[in-house]
Symmetry: C2
Subunit: 353 residues, 2 copies
């Protein structure tokens, strides 16, 4: 049996239960801005070796939790592990980001895509989850994650990173039924993958719909939201009680639709105020966010002001998970993250006192 | 005295008056996707020579109007002419975009920035406007344009293009009063520049707030919206009757605030439905948009479907300017633009018949 968590602020906040102060963790908290991360990354040689070696993935997952005493750990991995397990051949080109050796090039390839069995083809991820859970020893919750079906489709059709992802968007216009079929396969794969992470010990799950904002309103409903709806329903059955946070970048106008998927929480980017976001979701889900990551490049005084502004913007109601509105920038000084975490704590002390 | 325009659909739509069909023009309609543009560009040698040579700027401005029989011409120029005239030294690095020889590096430099006199330091732009007006011979309206104060500040503090523009965003957090001072100077400069374009013959004006979406909600109000408000008021006095279209990318949640600036029309990106946008602005302004530019990479059938969907989304009310939700992509086949323009016409014929 799993030991009860000693710090369950994140899980309580995601259930919109009262907490002594908002939990705080940061998207990409394990990453290049940390010298101790860069040292392990260098030891591993390449990025995928880091992901595939459970001890190293565990080490970098724990680094920020230990350095900053954060309220959650998030699995160190990549959103593209699922397409890799489908046979696309993921690798990372230094300075250029992810690339697939075999991007999707035809309808036949889309139709032939297999749904990976997480315990075999993605076993290295689940092994990392189990290793991290042991190492955390119930100190804080562990968040597992995956890319959203639409976001994975963007990369799989493009062959790597992009600003525009014209491949997926063109398919959306030219062959919507084929795109829907691809998303259907991906939804099944991602649901199984996330359920397996929960079974391996993940206490909460997060879905990154990084490129949902590239879709037009109608396309978003059909190609991002509909898959998320099925995914949420399947996870509720396969991993009951494990809260899911959905982060769809640029979804300021779509928060009420996203909240209606049945997820526990929504990640919110900094373009929308948390007051407006709370109104949009009618307090039906928890909200995670939404400090502009560039605020962490500013001086400590400015960081403290902005943390206070975000906390005030959400207000005193339950259901706030303090976070950035997107991933931490590599140029962020680690001491600035310490300033942020302290500011969240002190603000809460001020409120309580 | 100016001859009355033979095609005034754009101006009527911007006043929300009835038209036989929505006017259609496309952001970046004069650009790299056109072989005839690439030929002139090669002749000019570099991009700024093209902008600075009135005959060449006129030639490329007219190319798409002639090829596609569009309802408006837009001045061929660049949003960064204003900072260039302020002494920052604009040049274009092949394949990398714009760069400044002397980006803003200190508070002293910000405070010392001069407001250029358009008729001397930006005379080449006004000469281009006058040349184009003569060449158009009242066939369609000519749109003048400028970058928004916030968007210009982004480039001036960064020294060139960027995905993140951390310079301006960091200043927003660390030294908001200094940023406000910079924006104040830029607002004066842009207002004079646009008024001078109107005086030189521009029939409508457009303001590109390309990077407004990078600001947090509070920052947007202070650093993008407030300058736009002053600018709109000053233009209403300096160029009465010349409608202003404001395009703020990623402003789906900010449309009602933008409409309240008093501009005539709002550019809308494709992330928001025009139905929702109309509701947000309570039909108080015209709306311009909002086809996803990647739709033009799809086949003609798909393009026709999407054009019909955008027209239906706006509905039959007056006040729609058909356009893309962002600039045309360089990979766009010119024949596909012809398909789009024809589809706008045929849809209207179908409605009328």
């Amino acid at each position: 049996m799993a030991e009860p968590l000693r710090n369950d602020r994140l899980l309580r906040a995601l259930r919109r239960q009262p907490v002594d102060r908002p939990p705080v963790w940061l998207m990409r908290q394990a990453g290049r801005y940390l010298p101790e991360y860069r040292a392990v990354r260098e030891r591993a040689g390449d990025f995928m070796t880091l992901c595939r070696t459970r001890e190293l993935a565990c080490e970098v997952t724990l680094q920020p939790v230990e350095r900053f005493d954060l309220d959650a750990a998030i699995l160190f991995s990549d959103i593209l592990t699922v397409p890799d397990a489908m046979g696309l051949g993921l690798h990372f080109v230094e300075g250029e980001g992810p690339a697939f050796a075999r991007p999707l090039r035809s309808a036949a390839e889309i139709r032939a895509l297999p749904v990976p069995d997480p315990e075999s083809e993605l076993r290295y991820v689940l092994d990392a989850v189990r290793t991290i859970k042991r190492a955390l020893a119930a100190r804080v919750p562990l968040i597992g994650f995956a890319g959203s079906p639409w976001t994975l489709a963007c990369y799989m059709l493009e062959g790597g990173g992009s600003r525009e992802f014209v491949g997926a968007r063109r398919l959306r216009f030219e062959r919507p039924a084929l795109l829907a079929q691809l998303l259907d396969t991906l939804t099944t794969a991602v649901a199984r993958y996330l359920a397996a992470q929960a079974a391996a010990g993940a206490d909460a799950l997060m879905l990154f719909d990084t490129w949902g904002g590239l879709l037009d309103a109608e396309g978003f409903r059909r190609f991002s939201l509909a898959p998320l709806q099925r995914l949420t329903a399947e996870l509720a059955a396969a991993a009951p009680g494990v809260p899911l946070i959905v982060f769809s970048k640029g979804a300021g106008t779509r928060l009420s639709e996203l909240a209606a998927t049945g997820c526990a929480g929504l990640g919110v980017d900094w373009s929308v105020s948390l007051t407006a976001a709370r109104a949009a979701v009618a307090d039906g889900v928890a909200l995670q966010g939404n400090l502009d990551p560039t605020a962490l490049l500013a001086n400590p005084r400015a960081i403290r002001e902005r943390v206070a502004a975000v906390l005030k913007d959400y207000g005193d109601a339950p259901g706030h998970v303090f976070n950035l509105g997107h991933g931490i920038l590599p140029a962020t000084p680690p001491e600035h993250v310490a300033v942020l975490v302290r500011a969240v704590r002190e603000h809460a002390d001020g409120v309580a006192g």
